[in-house]
Symmetry: C2
Amino acid sequence: MNHVVHYSPQRLDASFGALADATRRAILERLGRGEASISDLASKFDMTLTGIKKHVQVLEDAGLLTSEKVGRTRTCRLGPRRLEQEMAWITKYRQMLEARLDRLGEFLESTKGDEQ
Amino acid sequence: MNHVVHYSPQRLDASFGALADATRRAILERLGRGEASISDLASKFDMTLTGIKKHVQVLEDAGLLTSEKVGRTRTCRLGPRRLEQEMAWITKYRQMLEARLDRLGEFLESTKGDEQ
């Protein structure tokens, strides 16, 4: 990816924060296999409806989950965010780290003769 | 990346949590340009030493920053973690989302004739 990505700090705070919880990641993995109601999720994760709703809200605020209420049932689906900014940020971190390790390698190489 | 990545939930919680803060991401970006002391970072981000130290500790616990104290100066560097699991997790999310949108597209395509 070489196109310029504009980072929205609030968006990255929300998405990385939403991903920083094993249950929330597991909810997304579950939705990857198909839509689920709040009660499906509560039963799968052995949590209260209130507990699941809190996680669903955090994921929805971060754009990783969409929910729709029909009658008394709220159905959850994955998306709509594609996490492009998050991928781009992590890719940049990795490039910075590689560059640092390259510089370190060159430095170590250049001092090799010093111990003779 | 087609090799199997083993996810460590605690590790993903820590790294995504560490990345969920604009100042902490900015500290990492600063270290991408070269090492910095705690006081360098405090002055750059106009924060107290105590405030910066808290962020540095969170980043260090997540393996995104290494620090070394020589005399009275603590120097911070990027790494050592390469965020492979985090990249892999986000990649998987994106694949799940693509697959969901594909299924939705097929469904919409299959119902196209219904309105005639």
